[in-house]
Symmetry: C2
Subunit: 341 residues, 2 copies
């Protein structure tokens, strides 16, 4: 069963030429005669030759592979980012290795080390919610492997970020709720150690202040932004008899949890309580027209991050100056656009 270990030497021997010529022919070098090239290609085919990329990569010291590290591929935002990354990467002949941290620091660390050990040419990362220090990127840094962060800001000096304006998004979301007449707006907030959630929170606060609404700290619920938390916190809000007429969730998953809970309790959205979350998940938002969302440009974010990364990979000698790209996000109001229900 374990067969077919035909190498360039085998095909060189079969043709009574040198293996370097074979190597050159197989990488379509111009420095080899059409005729011999054809002979070699034909023989290679006929012998069932398959290049060993391990050997090739070891020799060339590149892998043509970029690593992608993100919390969860099942979240639609992230899978649309992957979409963008793959498009941009394949176009330039790069492969993509996708890894999920599952929001766990330990896993993220392992992944980064594995990617480094596998000598990927560059890495695109959206850090986990648990990640507060960046020492685990040292193994990439020390080898000069380019790194681009997206969605969740990371301020390691010298690296690039591709983000949306989270302050603005938080502001817009809150402003939207206020304009709809909401006055008691709960905020499901994420870990404040992460810029992204801090900024969304600050945007929320700024919108309240601008509209002369009081900021109440008991309206700010610290959550881990998962669905279970979203459900539990909403239930707790109801039990506590804290009056509120809207929720602005710092991500989509917690918002989904809130919707589920409110549905269960027979509370109508948005008539009784309005909700805004972040998302570009088509299924949850279009089928369920009660969730107004801040739409994040996932595909574009993936593309931009990849383009930046590849530029860094190719320009490694003269690294670009670190830049932060801010993409536009847009608020989508399902109530006013959805025809259904």
């Amino acid at each position: 069963m374990e067969v077919n270990k035909v190498t360039i030497h085998d095909i060189a021997r079969a043709l009574d030429i040198n293996s370097s010529t074979v190597s050159r022919a197989l990488s379509d070098s111009p420095r080899v005669a059409k005729k011999t090239k054809d002979r070699i290609l034909k023989k290679a085919q006929e012998m069932g030759y398959q290049r060993n990329l391990l050997a090739s990569n070891l020799r060339k010291n590149i892998t043509n592979t970029i690593g992608v590290v993100l919390p969860r591929i099942s979240r639609h935002f992230f899978s649309s980012v992957i979409q963008g990354i793959e498009e941009a990467a394949y176009q330039e002949g790069y492969n993509v290795m996708i890894c999920q941290s599952l929001e766990q620091y330990e896993r993220e660390k392992n992944i980064i080390e594995t990617l480094a050990a596998n000598r990927v040419d560059g890495v695109i990362v959206s850090i986990s919610m648990e990640t507060v220090d960046y020492n685990h990127f040292e193994c990439l840094k020390s080898r000069g492997v380019p790194l681009v962060f997206f969605d969740r800001h990371c301020d390691i000096p010298g690296y690039n970020n591709v983000l949306i304006d989270d302050f603005q998004a938080g502001f817009d979301a809150t402003q939207h709720l206020i304009e709809k007449g909401c006055k008691k707006i709960i905020h499901f907030s994420g870990p404040q150690e992460l810029e992204i959630y801090k900024n969304r929170f600050e945007g929320y606060k700024a919108a309240l202040i601008k509209n002369d609404l009081p900021f109440r700290s008991d309206y700010v619920i610290k959550t881990r932004l998962n669905e279970v938390d979203g459900i539990a916190n909403t239930k707790k809000l109801l039990n506590d008899k804290l009056e509120f007429d809207a929720i602005f969730s710092a991500n989509d998953v917690a918002a989904i949890g809130a919707i589920k809970c409110l549905n269960e309790e027979g509370i109508r959205i948005p008539d009784d309580i309005s909700i805004v979350g972040f998302s570009n998940e088509p299924i949850s938002t279009v089928i369920n027209p009660t969730l107004t969302t801040i739409n994040q440009p996932g595909v574009e974010m993936g593309q931009r991050a990849t383009e930046l990364l590849l530029k860094n990979i190719q320009n490694k000698k003269a690294p670009l100056k670190p830049e932060t790209i801010i993409l536009d996000s847009s608020l989508i109001d399902r109530e006013s656009t959805g025809k259904s229900h």
Copy 2:
């Protein structure tokens, strides 16, 4: 910037010992003295040594990596399969390389060749809807790389499949609708070249026959099982004034399309029209309680497929006899279990 290329030779030189000893120490071989081992490990740490897996893998002729090829990671079923695969793989110290075919034969072919070139130790595949011949697996076959198929049956002799009983699932779905009083049941069918969709279709037919309902070929709609198709076909059904009281969709995505279309038209589900699709997508099904689903055990499928694959990898000399594992799927009726609405 391009720095830190410390190899076992560097650390050997620094300690004035031989690189083989270093190599042994770093792979924790028992054939090296505790004392020297400690010295080496310490020095390695201190010099910032990182093993080059490319070189190591080339030498050992294994990669400790398995490839996964599936249509789309954004579909919840597939991402839960990945969940299962990663769990089982990491436990055994394997890495996972995830690739999406996007239901395109050409992409699938490229991916398989890339995986083969990268010398993965085994591959887990759910073939694309376009895939009707299996020649592109030859590059793995010829090297004796183990291969396990899941969800979408593939009958290359000598390889394993992990599936659900699609005939039974199709039967159950249809039976369920009949028991609810539906008599005019549309079937959104997939490519009949694929066993999976043929079997679901056969199950549908069998249930009709068993219940003395007529089988009508105009009730069977060939679709590509994507959302756009689901919407378009539903709209067409309505325009054609073909009477129907239920849809059994051969996957979830087309069912989602149907729901969207019916929502738009103000047709109530399930009062006017019932729908059954395949899914284990929590968001779409729980929030939207109108979609009854055949639940597919994604995580378990991933685990079983991986266990099988790893067994094959480890037993390569004496390959297991090809087996097909059939897992249970269960019908989940949102109408009777959902408390909401």
